[in-house]
């Protein structure tokens, strides 16, 4: 089909369909509504099902039901709606049900506004729901990367039986860029013999639950989860490094902001400044090792986010005080300009030179 031009939200939808997801339960909210509309249009065409749920809470629980039945299923929302899904996500994690959950984040807190924002980083990576759990969080920075990461999200979800979050922002959802859907995809088949599809011909009744009244058994479940998370950390960390080989200053940024940072880095390089980009692609697991590695090489690190400073904590945890870590961010849906970031890099360089 070659390259096509679509909105980011639509690309997510098409990518999910290409990844074999035929079921979507969602609820409209700006700036992700095009995804819901896209699914409403497209899923019937592929003999799938789109259902507009009565709320985000209902949507995530419909996902819980559909995932129990063993199908690939997705839901999506934006910040306030995502908060409403937290109980459900905790349930999915605990019951070990695969699902892909999209957050096209917007300005917060509260009703906020509909401009792009990255202020749901903590919620996504530390677990906005209750209990000890983690969800893999993938953060594409371009529409082409959405294709790849949506496919990955479904693979990871099925392989580890876990909900996976695809985290973007209004910019990613609303922009258009040419996309090629004909890229190599994971074609692994997953046997879901745990699914509650009726016992017909397959033995004794199966149960899906997140409850265990016995503390020792619930601790056992938690241990299993932690083992799984360790494995995911070991094998599913994704990160891109750009111009880091000779870099003396590293900028850490993810998602759409990383593109602005990239432009700023080019400007800085034009001025002879040795600066590179570390772009976490998986926010959880966080690329701790890569950052730790470069924290032995660079003189300083700037983290740029569209929030008041969240990922910077994970950067600091990885750096462990070895070099100064500063932060630059814009909030409320304001997108930092290339120039602002460029100036941050310059002033950091001056700072270190002192």
């Amino acid at each position: 089909m070659g390259k096509v031009l679509m909105k980011g939200n639509e690309v997510i939808g098409e990518s999910a369909i290409q990844a074999g997801c035929k079921y979507f339960f969602g609820y409209p909210i700006t700036p992700q509504s095009e995804l819901v509309a896209y699914m409403a249009q497209r899923l019937p065409e592929v003999e799938g099902l789109f259902l507009q749920a009565e709320s985000e809470v209902a949507a995530i629980n419909m996902v819980y039901g559909a995932s129990s039945a063993g199908v690939r299923v997705m839901t999506s929302s934006s910040s306030p709606g995502f908060s409403l899904k937290q109980e459900g996500i905790s349930f999915l994690a605990s019951a070990e049900l695969p699902a892909v959950i999209v957050n096209i984040a917007r300005g917060g807190p509260g009703l906020g506004n509909i401009q792009p924002s990255q202020s749901d980083y903590f919620q996504a990576t530390k677990g906005g729901g209750h209990g000890d759990y983690n969800t893999p969080v993938l953060a594409p920075s371009s529409l082409q990367e959405i294709v790849e990461l949506t496919d990955e999200a479904f693979r990871i979800a099925d392989e580890y039986r876990t909900p996976v979050i695809l985290l973007g922002d209004g910019m990613l959802g609303q922009m258009m860029e040419p996309v090629d859907f004909e890229v190599t995809k994971d074609n692994k088949e997953f046997q879901k013999d745990w699914a509650t599809t009726g016992t017909v011909g397959d033995g004794p009744p199966k149960t899906i639950t997140s409850l265990d009244l016995d503390d020792v058994r619930l601790e056992e479940r938690n241990k299993q989860l932690q083992i799984k998370y360790k494995k995911i950390k070991a094998t599913e960390t994704k990160v891109e490094c750009y111009l880091m080989d000779d870099a003396e200053v590293a900028v850490v940024a993810y998602g759409t902001v990383s593109r602005i940072v990239r432009s700023a880095i080019k400007r800085a390089r034009d001025n002879g400044i040795k600066v590179g980009l570390i772009r976490p692609i998986s926010l959880w697991p966080f690329p701790v090792e890569k950052i730790a590695y470069y924290s032995n090489k660079v003189k300083s690190i700037i983290t740029v986010e569209m929030n008041a400073g969240q990922m910077v904590e994970d950067v600091r945890l990885a750096v462990e005080g070895k070099v100064p870590v500063t932060f630059y961010g814009r909030t409320g849906g304001v997108i930092p300009s290339i120039n602002e970031v460029h100036e941050q890099i310059l002033s950091m360089v001056n700072e270190v030179a002192k």
Binding site: L5, R262, S337
Partner: protein, 179 residues
């Protein structure tokens, strides 16, 4: 080659589609393109703008802080972006709606009576297309043919009948620059 274009105007002036015409045309020519709309509350009633990047290289930021080209369809939008246009950038102005502003000397300002031209063609709502024509003619970033062909993609079956009129407007824009 690379053009970073901002198009801005009232909600109903077709700003978003103008951006899409450029983006599709760029894609057709095998260029790298991004299209990023303002999608805020302005959309309803107020002003709207779109950022389009057309480049030979992969596009980093889809957000533009220093546009190389600016197409202005009304006064408020003009005021918003005027001062940000990059040195020696091109500004295309619908001079029927935008008047009385302090001239910058470091940019190239093209004042085009787009509304009048559009009315002449038969629909003042295609004033923006006149600016588009002027833009491609001036910058040479895209061919007329690609833009024509993009009309089909964006307008689709249901609005196919509008194509000739739009072509005409583009052509008029090109002519204006040739004059």
């Amino acid at each position: 080659m690379k053009e970073e274009i901002i198009i801005a105007g009232f909600g109903g002036q077709g700003v978003m589609s103008m951006g899409q015409f450029l983006t599709y045309a760029g894609l057709k020519e095998g260029k790298e393109v991004t299209w990023f709309p303002s999608y805020g509350p302005e959309q309803r009633g107020g002003t709207a703008n779109v950022s389009v990047v057309i480049s030979d290289q992969p596009v980093d930021s889809p957000v533009i802080d220093e546009p190389t080209a600016f197409l202005a369809l009304n006064k408020p939008s003009f005021n918003k972006f005027y001062s940000h246009v990059k040195e020696s950038g091109n500004i295309f102005i619908n001079s029927d709606l935008i008047t009385n502003y302090a001239k910058r000397n470091d940019v190239v300002i093209h004042e085009i009576t787009a509304t009048q031209i559009a009315q002449h063609i038969g629909n003042e709502r295609i004033a923006g297309m006149v600016l588009l024509g002027a833009f491609i003619e001036k910058t040479g970033i895209l061919s007329k043919e690609s833009l024509y062909s993009a009309l089909k993609d964006v307008l689709g079956e249901s609005k196919k009948h509008l194509i000739p009129m739009n072509k005409k407007a583009i052509l008029e824009g090109i002519h204006v620059m040739q004059d």
